[in-house]
Each structure stands twice: as C-alpha cells, then as structure tokens.
C-alpha cells in the first residue's frame, strides 16, 4: 500500500474538518447583505475616479481598491 492511498483520505478529513465552520449567517438570512445598498463598489467608475483625485494630492497610496496604475499627476 503506497503512501498516496492514505494521503487522499487524510487530506479530505482535514478539508472536511476545516470546511465545517458553520456559517452563522445562513444562506436564507442574507437578504440584507444581498441588498444593492450593501454592495462594496456599486459605481466602479466613480470610485476609481475619486480614488485618483485623492491619490494625486495625498502622499498616501494603496489599500484603496485600485490596482496600481501610474501617471505623472502632480
């Protein structure tokens, strides 16, 4: 019996263990989270623009939802 015969069940037992953190918000309780007003980025064009307005005038950059573009903006 080679190692991989035990490997797959062992891996699966681990995954089953990890995968079984019971969600404390059930799928049928997600009405509010699914509401359009709770959307993370409902207007991507507008938020990208405002992030650019801030970044061009502030020293800080990053963790603003953008994906790192460059420009010679002063």
């Amino acid at each position: 019996m080679s190692l991989h015969n035990y490997l797959l069940p062992a891996l699966c037992l681990t995954l089953v263990g990890c995968g079984h953190i019971e969600p404390w918000v059930k799928p049928y309780e997600r009405a509010h989270l699914a509401d359009p007003i709770m959307s993370a980025d409902p207007n991507p064009v507008s938020s990208a623009y405002l992030n650019h307005v801030h970044e061009a005038r502030e020293g800080a950059r990053g963790a603003d939802g953008g994906h790192g573009g460059g420009c010679g903006c002063n």
């Binding site: 015969n5 797959l8 089953v16 009405a31």
Partner: protein, 167 residues
C-alpha cells in the same frame, strides 16, 4: 457548487472523498422531513399529503439572482410532468414576504408557492446554499439534492424527475 447525493460506492477513500465534496452524505435514502406551510393561495400544504407523487422542493428568495433565473425552468418542468404525478413546491425563505409576493403578482408561476418566514423548514432541511432543490420520490424519501443553480441544471432535474416517475 453542484453536488448530487446518490448511493455511495464502497471503499473508504471514495466515501471520505464524497464526504468532502458533498459536506454530508446519506448511504441510504432518508425520508424527507415533513412540514406544513401556508401557500400563496392562502391554504396550508403538507408535504406528507403528497406521498405517491414525485415532489421537487425548491428553496428560493427574491433577492437571489440564480433562484429567479431558475424559476421559468421549474415552471416549464412542472407543466411538462404534472399530469404524470409530479409537483413542485416553491418554498420562499424570506422573513419579509412582501418582495416575493410583489414579484409573483407580476410574474406568476403555475406550481404552488409556500412561505417559510420563520425559517422553520429552512432549518429542518439544513439549508446550506441558495437556491437548494430537493427531489423527493413517491415513497417520501429524499433522493437528490442540488445546491445552487447554473443554466443547464434543469436538464439534470428533468432526467432525475423522469427516472423517479418511472419507479
């Protein structure tokens, strides 16, 4: 994720693998937990009273995109097989039924729609995903469970319903 409960093949690896993928499994078909819910038309409907028919129980919500995408497919399935002893119960799981009722008023379906605002049946069936579709055979046992919906699932529902109707 598409998961189907079926009779389990032998072999420890296979059972555990199936366990990982499906989260839970039944080696033997389990009786569908019985429930009574109020329907859209006002009367109460009890699952066990439908014994002898093949029943598809679909759990849905108005805010769930795939649930709504699935509705016309279910309606078509209902129309096709209802005369052969098949029915669908559309169980709406929302705490506030206003949105679902408004939706059904504008775009009605032919099969019975039941309301579970207190999530009694949702908890009874350990609802893990939206939508969830449970196929119950003529003997009242759960034979198939589908979680989620992606266009194409309705073909599988059709195959499984025909199979259960032939029993």
């Amino acid at each position: 994720m598409y998961r189907v409960f079926q009779y389990m093949p032998r072999g420890l690896s296979a059972i555990i693998l199936a366990g990982c993928l499906s989260g839970a499994y039944a080696a033997v078909p389990q009786p569908a937990p019985d429930f009574t819910l109020k329907s859209l038309s006002g009367e109460n409907l009890k699952l066990s009273e439908l014994r002898g028919q093949v029943v598809l129980v679909n759990f849905w919500a108005s805010w769930c995109g795939p649930c709504r995408q699935e509705m016309p497919e279910l309606d078509e399935l209902y129309q096709r097989y209802r005369k052969l002893g098949f029915t669908i119960l559309g169980v709406n799981v929302e705490q506030n039924t206003a949105a679902a009722q408004a939706l059904l008023k504008e775009h009605p379906v032919h099969f019975p729609v039941l309301f579970d605002p207190q999530s009694i049946v949702s908890k009874l069936y350990n609802l893990d995903a939206m939508p969830s579709t449970v196929l119950v055979d003529r003997g009242g046992n759960v034979r198939y469970l589908h979680q989620g919906y992606v266009p194409g699932y309705e073909q599988t529902y059709q195959q499984q319903v025909s199979e259960l109707l032939r029993e």
